[in-house]
């Protein structure tokens, strides 16, 4: 989409036009890897939203899994303060 925003995009809009919705949806579309890879410009708004929700849910699940993994990993180390220092030095 272009940077020309002839429409006023105000949060207080009482009625959001379909064009506006389509515009925003297409922007969101670019974020979702699944849709982006398909290289199709004709993804419906409903599909974009659906994929967005799925994507967020997947990310949540991934964070959950990682959290469990991290907690398990941390539990298995004895010297946590050492670990933290090491990791920090590795990261910085």
């Amino acid at each position: 989409m272009s940077s020309r925003r002839s429409r006023s995009r105000q949060p207080g809009d009482s009625r959001i036009s379909d064009d506006q919705i389509a515009d925003l949806v297409s922007k969101l579309q670019q974020l979702i890897p699944e849709i982006r890879n398909r290289r199709s410009d004709k993804v419906s708004a409903s599909k974009v939203l659906q994929e967005t929700c799925n994507y967020i849910r997947n990310l949540h699940r991934e964070v959950d899994d990682l959290s469990d993994r991290l907690s398990a990993l941390l539990a298995s180390t004895d010297t946590d303060s050492d670990q933290a220092a090491i990791i920090r030095s590795l990261l910085m």
Partner: protein, 207 residues
């Protein structure tokens, strides 16, 4: 793991923050480093979405995350792994929200909800006359588009009653932040697994 950072495809709206970036970018950290060369840092395209993609942001997050979860480890009893996993998740979310610096609704929602105001976040009075005239009626009559929007609003913290444009804005930022969170935690897990397994080269000899 294949990054395509396109500066051309990112939208420049009045709040241009959309950076189309890695799809599996959360898999490895060196791809993040590679991304940094093509990163549109400092340009007008990097606002909110781009913020989450910088390596600096991720490192800051990782460091704070390490502190937070080592605290979790120390404080919580060696109880069920589920609890500790949950605690880690909440700590990770908290640090993530804090990194948002309160600029977004989802980050503020996370920060306030962690203080125990979860009820307040969820039990807000349903305003039926909001700007989209959302019908709290049978979902069957609701067009699937609106329904999906509502689902999205539930997924992004604190964004249930948001108007559609704002919701998309929040969702965009939230997704970028989540991706960074995944990247950081993955890298951290790999580090920990590495240092845990091969404790010869990294750990000091005398603990």
């Amino acid at each position: 793991m294949f990054l395509c950072v396109e500066t051309t495809r990112s939208y420049s709206m009045e709040k241009s923050y959309m950076v189309t970036d890695s799809e599996g970018g959360y898999r490895s950290m060196e791809s993040n480093r590679r991304k940094r060369k093509k990163m549109e840092s400092g340009t007008q395209k990097v606002k909110r979405g781009g913020r989450w993609r910088t390596e600096a942001e991720q490192q800051i997050y990782s460091a704070k995350l390490v502190e937070a979860i080592t605290k979790v480890r120390r404080s919580s009893a060696p109880a069920a792994a589920v609890h500790r996993g949950r605690a880690v998740r909440e700590a990770a979310d908290r640090v993530l929200a804090a990194a948002g610096k309160g600029r977004t609704r989802w980050s503020r929602a996370i920060m306030t909800s962690r203080v125990g105001l979860r009820l307040r976040k969820r039990r807000k009075v349903t305003v039926t006359g909001n700007n989209r005239l959302r019908k709290p009626a049978v979902s069957k009559q609701e067009p699937p588009l609106k329904r999906r929007v509502r689902v999205l609003g539930r997924l992004v913290p604190g964004c249930r009653k948001l108007s559609f444009p704002n919701l998309l804005e929040e969702a965009t930022d939230y997704i970028a932040a989540l991706e960074m969170q995944v990247r950081a935690m993955t890298a951290l897990a790999e580090l920990l697994a590495g240092t845990g397994a091969s404790s010869s080269n990294l750990q000091p000899p005398s603990c």
